[in-house]
Amino acid sequence: MRIAAYGQEATIADRLDSGVAALLVDDVRMACINAGIVTIDVIPAAQSFVVVHSNKDSASVQLLLADLLTNRRNDNLTSSFGNTVEIPVRYDGADLDEVARACGMSVDRVVDLHSNTTYTVEFCGFAPGFAYLHGLPEQLHLPRRASPRARVPAGSVAIAATYSAIYPGESPGGWHLIGTTSLRVWDTGRTPPALLQPGTTVRLVNIS
């Protein structure tokens, strides 16, 4: 774990265990409020999170985070306290056969492994509402496609590296497409707009 200034108006905590950052952001927000530090964003990523603050005093934020992280280290952070979302998935992705071949297993086995897993949203990035789902079984870890698609439809259920994800809107993308969902994971007319937020527990229900 390291805590450092990230320019004058942001502070980073990195070298955290995977998945921990998402579980800390609410506590970080609360601790900042209690300390009178105005935060603009608290952003989790893979093994780090960043506090963007309106003052240029990173030193005081660093102290606060050091205190918080030391206290929280003894707590059990693996238990998620986000809400749980169930997502119906039709396993009809364009890359499903290829994924099965690359992983050396049957398509049924891929579907089985992928859907019988509990995921947690580690962080969002790439596009609004694009959630990196932690928990993909190791047998399904594959590098991204050699050449990304120019157009991936919204609702595509995909895997790449150690993550699974659902494309919230149509975009280019280099992940392997294994299924689709009709559930809208991103809707700016809804509060909050993202169905999958850092810390959310996700269950995929096979409706093929």
């Binding site: 450092a4 200034a5 990230y6 320019g7 004058q8 108006e9 942001a10 980073i12 990195d14 995977s18 952001v25 603009i40 964003d41 608290v42 952003i43 989790p44 990523a45 893979a46 093994q47 780090s48 999170f49 960043v50 963007v52 962080f123 969002c124 990035g125 790439f126 596009a127 609004p128 509402g129 694009f130 959630a131 990196y132 700016t188 909050p192 707009p193 993202a194 937020q197 850092p198």
Partner: protein
């Protein structure tokens, strides 16, 4: 109060952006040169958060009522009908008159602010056009009519135009991956002269150079990005995160540039030269 778009040119609507949503993957967006946009709003009597036009030229609007306008940011050829208007001087436009920003003379983005500010739909609390996520609350095209907010009489004009900050030299503060650079590689970055790539845009300013010593991993676990974060790409380019930057990224962040310097960097035309020094103090 209303105006009509006759021609949009290379123009977007920008305000202070949609901060507070980065944890859901939403870029902050907002004016690329924050200081110039805030100045335009200040001069025409708007709140600093009001929405204005950010243009790189080709914008033509018609006044459907009388209102005040002001132009700031990059020096440009701007007119009310045939009459040139000077930057930072508030000008009253009468019903039926046309305001044009033809061509940028020096810089990249000019700001046209209208008394009362541009009114219109908001997405996640902001009217800003996010070019990365394609969040476009108000698409500008010929014939679109835009309502204005309630104008404030307290306008200010300046005798001498305030030009955008000149940033041909940037100070690199340490970033999350600075220590992955050997002292020789750090020195190498500041020894090189960098050139603004034509690929630069509202998402990021790309600086290129030749024969850089690159010795950092090509990709790391994603970290949150902030405006001013400086990525070193595997191709040996520096990318400085600007208004529409993505919220997370996997390239090493070798430094951070101050927010004020980002205002200046976005105004550098392609092929401008930039030098860097390390701020070793902390």
């Amino acid at each position: 109060m209303t105006l009509r778009i006759e021609r949009a040119g290379i123009t977007t609507v920008q305000d202070h952006g949609r901060s507070g949503w980065a944890h859901l993957g939403v870029p902050t967006s907002g004016a690329a040169d924050k200081a110039s946009c805030a100045l335009a709003n200040r001069l025409v009597g708007n709140t600093p958060h009001s929405a204005a036009f950010e243009t790189s030229g080709g914008l033509v609007i018609t006044a459907l009522h009388d209102f005040n306008v002001v132009v700031t940011g990059a020096d440009c050829d701007a007119f009310v009908d045939a009459e040139p208007i000077r930057r930072c001087v508030v000008t009253t436009v009468h019903t039926g008159q046309r305001v044009r920003i033809d061509r940028i003379r020096e810089g990249v983005f000019s700001y046209l602010s209208v008394s009362g500010g541009l009114d219109g739909p908001r997405v996640l609390d902001s009217q800003s056009h996010d070019t990365l996520s394609r969040i476009i609350p108000l698409a500008l095209s010929e014939g679109v009519e835009i309502r204005l907010g309630i104008p404030h009489d307290a306008t200010t004009s300046l005798d001498i135009a305030v030009s955008p900050r000149r940033t041909d030299h940037i100070l690199l503060q340490p970033g999350p991956s600075t220590e992955l650079l050997s002292p020789a590689a750090q020195a190498d970055i500041s020894k090189h002269s960098w050139v603004v790539s034509p690929m630069s845009n509202r998402v990021g300013i790309r600086l290129t150079t030749s024969s850089l010593l690159v010795n950092v991993p090509a990709e790391l676990p994603s970290v949150p990005l902030i405006r001013g974060a400086v990525q070193l790409t595997p191709a040996g380019e520096l990318v400085i995160m600007a208004a529409d930057h993505p919220t997370t990224g996997g390239y090493p962040i070798i430094g951070v540039v101050d927010s004020d310097d980002v205002d200046g960097l976005v105004q550098l035309p392609a092929h401008s030269r930039v030098t860097t020094t390390w701020n070793v103090e902390k």
